[in-house]
């Protein structure tokens, strides 16, 4: 009987040698004439254990990690194909507390299945929602998404169902689904993990969105920094078309839905929805003024649903299980689950999909285990480069869009970047302004000029003029926050002022 060994092909795992490990396992198995089948799955999201190798046994899948190619002979000697004892063994994968305590709805298949196997996908609940959607009236699909309370996972948190309703109600000869896969926030990788680990769920979500609003064309705007995701996504589209569930005749229904992948070119601003539409049209990624809303005049002036990867990937679960079942998770107006991402200087970095309502402390310590360096956590930046830096006194904040905003933070795309006590918060504030200099599209003055002035003012705060410069910085931030065209200039003050307010001592050093 052949043994099944899982070695992830997720790019995080590849970045620390998963291909070498897979090759070493294949080589040893061949040398010992053992019948081993290696499945390249996605990542389970326990990234500190990558490369995480799993072996299928009668007791379930047994995890070993982090495995280096050099560990492979020892693993074979320890009988890992039968789940044998070894220093790197962590027992049954699903029973590892980091994973066991999660509520994986969107990530149910990620790391479990072969990302490009349609058989795996169907055997694990895939396509149920698309079949259901084909038998449902468009307006009823939209209402199901409204009922779920699903809000845009890209950062802005706008109710997805309301957006869909607007597009459904618009009259046009052509409508589009534009998937925002320009996951530019530092500390975030959930979109990438889904595209690499379960690409069909995104395609299914897009197809359902198309049926719901009457769009026949879908575009994935994928950042160029994700070459592995691009390969997986293109292969998945090819297979989905060949199997007849995308294309001219979706699952034999007579309805059309096509998906195209377009690459970004290294511009953070193209994660802003209107800049992304400009970029999809082949232009510079310059932010558009709103209105008109993209839902009415979006891609090439046509009604367009612009949703983040995570939003669209949540749709199949919602349609399959019902909006009410999704809304049963979460708190307040933050329904369902969010895949949080633990990043930076954290001991147990990775992906944690849990219902809204968890506290920062639980994520940082119960899941993250504190810092990787073993030093105290000084600050955590939540929500990407435009999110606030929060000190330990804020760690009991509940992660719920409204409550978190009231506490001075922003959940954004759910990334948490952890810093230990060696971080210089003035340097981080300066970097926030510098990042805005590099990435501003240049359309509005507060963002384009303000960011450069911001860097200069923060530099001068190291000198004797600190009180005057601090006043200037606060005024500048006020202008940027209130007079910028989009969130780039509008939210850059958030990391800057939170650093200044919570860590003033770092600004007092010369």
């Amino acid at each position: 009987m052949s043994s099944i060994v899982y070695v992830p092909s997720d790019s995080a795992a590849l970045s620390v040698g998963a291909d070498d490990v897979a090759a070493a396992i294949a080589r040893h198995a061949a040398a010992q004439e053992l019948d081993v089948r290696i499945v390249r799955n996605g990542s389970r999201g326990m990234l500190w254990l990558e490369p995480l190798v799993e072996v299928a046994t009668p007791a379930g899948r047994i995890a070993y990690g982090p495995v280096a190619a050099a560990d492979v002979p020892g693993l074979f000697a320890a009988g890992f194909l039968q789940g044998g004892a070894h220093a790197l063994r962590h027992g049954v994968t699903g029973a590892i507390p980091f994973l066991q305590r999660q509520t994986r709805l969107v990530f149910a298949r990620v790391g479990v299945t072969d990302p490009l196997s349609l058989e795996d996908y169907k055997a694990n609940g895939g396509l149920v929602a698309l079949q259901k959607a084909l038998a449902t009236a468009p307006a009823a699909i939209v209402e199901e998404v409204v009922t779920s309370g699903l809000r845009g996972r890209g950062g802005a948190g706008f109710p997805a169902g309301i957006k869909w309703r607007t597009v459904l109600g618009a009259t046009a000869d052509q409508k589009y689904i534009a998937c925002n896969a320009d996951e530019g926030d530092s500390g975030t990788f959930s979109d990438r993990m889904v595209m690499e680990g379960d690409p069909f769920v995104l395609l299914e979500g897009m197809a359902i969105a198309g049926l719901a609003v009457g769009a026949t064309e879908g575009y994935v705007y994928l950042r160029s920094e994700y070459p592995d995701a691009k390969r997986t996504l293109l292969a998945a589209i090819e297979r989905a078309c060949a199997a007849g569930w995308l294309g001219q005749n979706v699952l034999g229904s007579g309805k059309r839905f096509f998906v195209h992948v377009r690459l970004g070119a290294g511009a953070y601003i193209c994660g802003e929805e209107t800049a992304m539409l400009e970029s999809l049209e082949g232009k510079r990624g310059i932010v558009r003024a709103k209105p008109p809303l993209p839902a009415l005049q979006g891609l090439w002036g046509k009604p367009t649903v612009v949703n983040n990867v995570m939003t669209l990937a949540s749709v199949p679960w919602i349609v399959a299980h019902g909006g009410a079942a999704y809304a049963a998770h979460g708190v307040g107006r933050s329904k369902g689950t969010l895949p949080f991402q633990l990043a930076g200087n954290v001991k147990h970095g990775g992906l944690v999909e849990v219902p809204f309502g968890i506290t920062l402390r639980e994520l940082l310590y119960d899941y993250g285990g504190g810092t990787a360096s073993g030093r105290p956590i000084k600050a955590v930046q939540v929500g990407g480069p435009l999110g606030a830096y929060l000190p330990a006194s804020k760690f009991d904040l509940v992660l719920d869009y409204e409550a978190f905003a009231q506490g001075g933070g922003m959940i954004g795309h759910g990334g948490l970047v952890v810093f230990d006590d060696t971080v210089d918060m003035r340097a981080m504030a300066r970097y926030a302004m510098e990042f805005c200099v590099v990435e501003s599209c240049g359309k509005c003055t507060p963002c384009r000029i303000g960011s450069t002035r911001g860097v200069e003012v923060i530099d001068r705060m190291a000198g004797p003029q600190r009180p005057v410069q601090e006043k200037l910085l606060r005024e500048l931030c006020d202008t940027m926050a209130n007079a910028s065209l989009c969130a780039m200039g509008g939210l850059t003050p958030m990391p800057v002022l939170s650093a200044l307010d919570h860590f003033p001592e770092d600004f007092r050093r010369s």
Binding site: S11, A12, L14, S15, V16, L47, W48, E50, E183, G184, D185, S186, G187, T188, F189, D191, R192, S224, E225, Y226, P227, D228, R262, L263, G264, A265, G266, A267, Y268, S279, L280, E281, G282, K283, R284, G285, W300, Q341, L342, A343, G344, N345, V346, G349, G350, A372, Q381, P385, G415, V417, V418, F419, D420, V423, M428, Y431, F435, V438, E439
Partner: protein, 154 residues
């Protein structure tokens, strides 16, 4: 220029073709030559200013040939929390490779990148399109050495 012409002919009918064309040219040549701008503008019925605007707006596109190995080192917050700034300094001080420049021996082009989505395993870099994580001084040194060793074969 034959490459540029072929790419323009192949992709000009694609909606919003300018970006896909620039990507395709850079994939083949490693950069986008200045005189490609006019060809692209002609092919897409755009002004040269429009094509130039797109070419220079996006960080990905180069207008000069890169070194033999392209290293995109992440400078974003999560990698900073894991020490990427020290690695950038090491590349500069020990190896004479400045951020945003090509080394004098044309072995390496070092470019900044803002997040590679490997934020739990940083510091990270993309080396000729391949993601590498858990970088430290020793691994950076080895990477530079390997890149400089490619000189004979190139």
């Amino acid at each position: 220029m034959a490459v540029v012409e072929a790419v323009v002919q192949r992709l000009r009918a694609v909606p919003g073709a300018c970006l896909p064309i620039l990507h395709a040219i850079q994939d083949e040549l490693g950069f986008v030559p200045h005189d490609a701008v006019e060809r692209i503008a002609d092919g897409l019925n755009l002004s040269r200013a429009e094509v130039h605007g797109v070419l220079t707006f996006y960080h990905d596109f180069r207008t000069a040939p890169p070194g033999r190995t392209i290293v995109k080192l992440c400078r974003a917050e999560a990698c900073q929390a894991r020490g990427c700034t020290a690695l950038e300094r090491r590349l500069h001080d020990h190896h004479g490779i400045a951020m945003g420049a090509t080394s004098a021996d044309a072995a390496i082009t070092l470019e900044p990148v803002y997040c590679l989505g490997n934020c739990a395993l940083g510091p990270s870099a993309l080396v000729d399109g391949k993601l590498v994580g858990r970088l430290d001084a020793a691994r950076v040194d080895a990477l530079v050495q390997a890149a400089r060793g490619k000189r004979g074969k190139a």
